[in-house]
Amino acid sequence: MALNVSELLTALPQETDEITTPVVTGVPALLSRASYQPVPVGRIRRLTALGTLQAKIAAAYLFHWLRGWFKSSDDNQRLLAETHWRTALRVLDSMTYLRGAVMKIGQTLANFPDIAPVAFVDTLERLHFDAPPMHWSLLREMVHNELEDDPESRFASFDKQAFAAASLGQVHRARLFSGDEVAVKIQYPGIARSIEADFRNLFLFLLPARLSKDWDSTKDQFDDLRRRLELETDYELEAANLQKARALFHAADGIVVPRVFTQFSTGRILTMERLEGVHITQFMARNPSQEERNNIAKKIVRAWYRLMYSGRMLYVDFHPGNFLICDDGRLGVLDFGFIVPLDDTEWEWFRKIDRPLTTGLREDRLPILKAWSDIGDDETERLRLNDEYAEWSWLSRYRGGEFDFSNEAEFRRGINLFTEMVRRRYSRARPNTPTIARGQFAWWSILFQLKAKVDVRSIAEEEIKATGWDRSEYTPREVQEVQ
């Protein structure tokens, strides 16, 4: 099912006038919002050339995806769903900030090669790079407000043009008086508080859809997205995550998390050491050898396990823009806006599932999956699907040896399982589970894009050993069972 962008855009539901009715119900909400937040009229105009196309594409993909969930419903239900979606899109069009959210969905979808061909990923990245929405005078004022002086005085140099777009702002090159080359990520003023309001409004419009049986799974996805955006608007939290993560890596790892310059960072501005390198898509465009690709993949896998086992931080934001392949060969891990911290309870679970999921034996997996996802004895279908998904996502880990991530059939099996899990809301039991499932899926999809061969198991074992976790009790049982 290879779709191109124009096909998707035409697949978008047509706009009709009937939409006016639900809009009326939302007016009080919109008015209450207007009382403390300006309606961003000017921005919409400006975005027409750049952002809107991107947002539309992302929305089209999302729609396409959503429609898939309604495949099995009858025509009436599907029509109802489409009407609500159309309304929501209309509203969305008046909410600048939610465009950021839609772009995020676009990025998530970029991990689905099934519906997101390479062309889409490329378009997304290009658009991303071309749209600097804050002009210099606004930026200057933000820096002045946040860092108590003008950029000209606070920095030795500061590029007026953004070199990258962030979902909620933009990133500029600058140099500190200490000589450090930095990347300064700046948020559009007030955006953090607007997102909350935008979501509330969007939800009002989606509310009529709650009667459909797929509502809960839609809501899960939106909740996940909302949580993500809330966390990502908090640059102080991101700075703390970056610092914690950075301390976990050493020169020999060839993995680097950028250093944070706290005196130049606030809740709205994040100043980091600037890494020079290319994103995965650019890296792949150079036709790197199998070995080069494997090396990058190994580092990604190592970084993931290191963060998880030593840092108790689950890195789930695997979109290609979040990794930089540095000119000196190191892997740069960016974007710690969205991290799932593993608290004691969660960590206990991670310890508990580790062995049963790494033997590759169904009888080991089933009891722990039932406990983890709170699956009742009568829910055989749910158990089956959870088990298949767990088997798939831990496959490279339990098999050991070099695992070939370029195997498309295997990846597609995962897509189908993942989509099915989302659609049926089978991962709902624990609050983080949908996020974790998405993270596992995205992790695989990055390795698939790299067409890498990696011995995941040996890296995981090394990382676990380094934490001092004594797993000697595993060996005898495992050997016993394999015999």
Partner: protein, 200 residues
């Protein structure tokens, strides 16, 4: 006894400084001209030789800040778009007016009010005129040689609207004002450039 110009200026300064301090600690409404006179160590009657009303004191303070802002703006090098240049002008003013933020509303209701000229023809319009002259100059630099009275009135309404929003802005570091200013100036600039294009 004759009072020299120098002494007069010094008294004026004392009144202004005392007023800012009192406005800041007690608020504009709770401060009386008598309080100001006492703090400036002059008789209440003497104060009226300098300023007719409390609003006039605010007006004078604001006028000084606007003056400083214009100097700062003139020093900036700008090769930006129309909306950005207008933005730079207004934020330069906001920076200088920061201390007066909470007391600016009376000015907006009087000398700066979009309706002021119709209502009170005798009023001092210099603040408005000076600002608008800069705006016309900026527009010229961006190829808009003639700016209609309607456009001017529209600009002024936006400008005063932003100042009024700012005076009450509860958001952290008044960041919402920046967003409002950015967005409304983009809208105004796009509209102005569009209508200039149409009339040619």
């Amino acid at each position: 006894m004759r009072i020299t110009a120098e002494e007069k200026n010094a008294t004026r300064r004392r009144i202004l400084d005392a007023a800012v301090e009192l406005f800041r600690t007690h608020g504009f409404d709770a401060t009386t001209t008598r309080d100001i006179a006492r703090a400036a160590e002059i008789a209440t009657g003497t104060l009226f030789n300098y300023f007719d009303t409390k609003e006039a004191i605010i007006g004078q303070l604001a006028s000084e800040s606007f003056g400083k802002a214009r100097l700062a703006f003139a020093k900036q090098e700008l090769q930006a778009g129309l909306d950005e240049e207008l933005f730079a002008l207004v934020v330069a003013e906001l920076r200088q007016l920061k201390l007066l933020r909470k007391f600016i509303t009376p000015l907006l209701e009087t000398v700066l009010c979009p309706l002021a000229s119709a209502r009170r023809p005798g009023m001092d319009h210099s603040l408005r005129v000076e600002h608008l002259e800069l705006v016309v100059g900026i527009a010229k630099r961006h190829g808009i040689t003639e700016i209609s009275p309607v456009s001017i009135q529209m600009y002024w309404s936006i400008y005063i609207g932003v100042l009024a929003f700012w005076a009450e802005d509860q958001s952290p570091k008044q960041e919402d004002t920046l967003a409002l200013l950015d967005q409304s100036l983009r809208m105004f600039a796009a509209w102005l450039l569009n209508s200039a294009g149409e009339s040619q």
